[in-house]
Subunit: 164 residues, 2 copies
Amino acid sequence: MVKLTKRIGGLVLRLAAFGAALAALIVMITSRERASFLAISLEAKYTDMAAFKYFVIANAVVSVYSFLVLFLPKESLLWKFVVVLDLVMTMLLTSSLSAALAVAQVGKKGNANAGWLPICGQVPKFCDQITGALIAGFVALVLYVLLLLYSLHAVVDPFLLQKS
Amino acid sequence: MVKLTKRIGGLVLRLAAFGAALAALIVMITSRERASFLAISLEAKYTDMAAFKYFVIANAVVSVYSFLVLFLPKESLLWKFVVVLDLVMTMLLTSSLSAALAVAQVGKKGNANAGWLPICGQVPKFCDQITGALIAGFVALVLYVLLLLYSLHAVVDPFLLQKS
C-alpha cells in the first residue's frame, strides 16, 4: 500500500510540474503590449530579450519531458536514469528562471550605473504578465526540487529517516 | 584499493571546485575600471549590478562549503546529507551564473528594444575581467555537476554500469 501511495505521489508531482512549466511557457509567449513613446509606437514582446527566449525554450523542454515520463512503465530500469534527467531539468529551470529574473529586475528598476532606464513604466501589463510567467516557472522549479529530493530520499535517505 | 581511489577522486574534485569558486569570487570582486564619458568620470565595479553581487555571494557560500566538507570524517553519516547539500550548491552556482551571464550579455550587446546601450565599449577591461569570473564560475559548476553525478552513481547507478 505504501509503495502505491509513493508511486501516485510521484506521478501527481510530475503532473503538477508539467502543468506549471506549460503555464509558464504559455504566459511568457503571450506577453505583449503596444505603447507609444515620444510619438513612436513600440510593441514589447518576449522575443525582445534573449533571457526570455531562453526561458520559453527551457520550459518547453521541461513540459515535453514531464509529459513523456508520465508514460514510463513502473518496472522500467529507465527510472534509474530519470533521477539524472530530473537533475538536468531542475538545473535548466534554475538557470532559465535566474536569467529571466535578472533581466526582468533590470527592466523593472533600470540600472543607473549602466544608464539603462526601466521599461515597465511604459508597458506595465507586459511586465505584469512576465512576472506571472516567472512565478509559474518558480512553481515548476519547486516541484522539480521536491521530485529530486523524493528520488534521492528513496535511494540515499539523506535525512536518515529510514530505520537502519 | 578501488574504494581509496574513489575517495581520493571525490576529494580532488571538491578541492578543484573550491579553487574554481574562490577564483570566480576574487576575479569578480577585483573587477573595476575607471572611464570618462562625455567629460564625466565613471568607475565600473561589480557592485553596479545586482546579478554580479549575487554571483559573489553564491561563490562565497560555495567556497566555504567546499572547504568545510574536505574535513568531514570518512565514516560520518553526514556524507548522506552532503548529496543534498551538493545539489543545493549546484543549483546556487547554476542560478548565480545564469543571472550574471544574462546581465553581462546585455552589458556586452545592449538591448535596442529596451533602449539599453552596451557598456563594454567604455570599460573593456572591466568586461573582460567579468568574463574571466564567469568562466571560473562555469568551471566550478561543471565540477559540482560531476560531484553530483559521482554521488548519484555511487548510490543509484543511473547509467546501469554496476553488474547486478
